[in-house]
Symmetry: C2
Subunit: 317 residues, 2 copies
């Protein structure tokens, strides 16, 4: 049993709240460190135990992540909390490895065009960099160091190339596994995924990489995210991202929904028979922190709007 297997047991659901990272990736207005800590603490009190906390990126260009070390420190005070942070280059990995972060997320692009446009490197160079990051982790803490997750962006469709050949994604999955990724996450970065495509790619990926946990990072741009999560659960995926209020919309589609709404995802999982350990009422109330610190940012979420079903118990079955 690998360390990643122990952290993501196949018989349990693991939900990661990525609002503090992906939700803030493209915003101009963002919460200060204190508001972020309240966000973290209140979700923790609601039962959330797994967060993407920020990015190791140049603070001049991404001031919203300048306090990533403070967040990692705050997260370290909360027992059982697991924190991940994004790294996009060697420098970021060096910095991240000096913190007690639990997981590094390194993102590669499914298509050559997007890889070049987004990071000025080929997919092969990205795989080589992933391998170096794993090596740096091993040279440092070894078994005690953070997990390294490979996130494959544009896995279900690309903003530049349009449709994406699943076989190309699977080749990249193989390469990431070979490079030593502990977890591989498929990301529907621009919301092109539909249930049939998710079922196919997820089952092929799981068959392909065997014991390595497969995560799914969905966006709700075209309203398919909850349906996509449903079929992924049916296909055995147990590791899913979501962001509070669906934060993380695309600047090229004003008004469009961003990430799958974490609250709605929790509701889905509970009703599909998984125990998330998360208190929906408390979780929904954390939206106040976002509303207060990012008043211009639209918040999505059906549960927050409509309220929980009045069924006596927490959720409808």
């Amino acid at each position: 049993m690998t360390r990643a297997d122990r952290m993501f047991p196949a018989d349990r659901i693991t939900l990661r709240e990525v609002g503090l990272r992906d939700g803030l990736q493209l915003v101009r207005q963002f919460p200060d460190t204190r508001a972020k800590q309240e966000w973290l603490q209140r979700e923790y009190d609601a039962g959330v135990r797994y967060f993407e906390l920020g990015s190791f990126l140049p603070a001049q260009r991404f001031p919203q992540f300048a306090d990533v070390r403070d967040l990692i420190e705050a997260a370290g005070q909360l027992p059982g909390l697991r924190g991940a942070a994004l790294v996009l280059n060697e420098r970021g990995a060096v910095d991240a490895l000096q913190t007690p972060i639990d997981e590094l997320v390194f993102v590669l692009s499914a298509t050559e065009s997007h890889s070049q446009a987004n990071t000025r490197r080929t997919r092969q160079a990205a795989v080589d960099l992933l391998r170096r990051i794993v090596q740096m982790r091993d040279d440092g803490g070894g078994a005690e160091g953070p997990l390294v997750t490979a996130g494959i962006a544009m896995a279900f469709g690309c903003s530049l190339e349009g449709s994406v050949d699943p076989d190309e994604v699977l080749r990249l999955v193989d390469a990431c596994a070979e490079a030593g990724a502990d977890v591989i996450a498929l990301a529907d970065t621009v919301g092109y995924a539909v249930p049939r495509a998710v079922a196919t790619l997820v089952s092929q990926t799981r068959r392909r990489i065997g014991a390595i946990p497969v995560g799914l990072h969905l966006h709700d741009t075209r309203g398919m995210a909850i349906a996509n999560a449903t079929v992924a659960l049916d296909e055995g995926v147990r590791l899913l991202d979501g962001s509070l209020g669906g934060l993380g919309g695309c600047p090229f589609a004003p008004g469009a929904t961003g990430n799958i709404v974490f609250e709605d995802l929790v509701f889905l999982c509970e009703n599909q028979g998984f125990n998330t350990g998360i208190d929906m009422e408390k979780l929904i109330q954390v939206r106040e922190v976002v509303a207060r610190s990012m008043p211009d940012e639209p918040l999505s979420g059906a549960l927050a709007k409509a309220g929980l079903p009045r069924i006596g118990s927490q959720v409808a079955v």
Copy 2:
């Protein structure tokens, strides 16, 4: 093969746009007859062939349906268009049977409390009335008369009773079949349905009533509608309702989404491998008619907000 089977072939998808009826059920502001005719004509031009056109209800209390006969006449001018209308009592059925409507939809409640509160009759009395409506249809046009659809409201949860016992729904399904319903539709009137509940009830219903087509009427109050439609398609349901822009919100949940968004449902079906015959771009443009004639009504829909994926073809696969 029954007449309903010929109208709803099991190897094809049949989508019904219910905005002109369910979408207007609770509104104060509504389109005039001319705007409704434009709505109908433009959706017809987009490829939609099946509509709920209105209700046979007292015009004083429901002025939004006073022109139902005009709509039925307008629909009759469009080759291949099928129109349904709601009837809730004998008087409505008498009136409807004097028109060339293709289908009467009679709604019963899954729970005794809601049946009493909504129509002041027991569920048994409702089944008896359904039987009389079928008889009236047979006495009139017979095989040439309209289909009679039994819609079971609150089938997945009730605004008054909370959770609903699926066995009670199945007993009502049996009773409706025995009373002569040509089609039986399960309605998630208040948006309590979740994928697992839909899969279970739909498969049990289909097993139970054999050859009678099973329809599904979903609301998106808690964001589960597209996921629910996905599992229903997987379970063999081929008859689904939706309303343009998700019109038909509940007055008790301000801002909450109403019916499943027809545009998003079409997108789902196309991407799950069904040919709907509907042009998404044209369909989305029909929202203009609603926006113009009901400017205060919020319109939902991810596709309309984000646009179709840029994949060259009409839809992403």
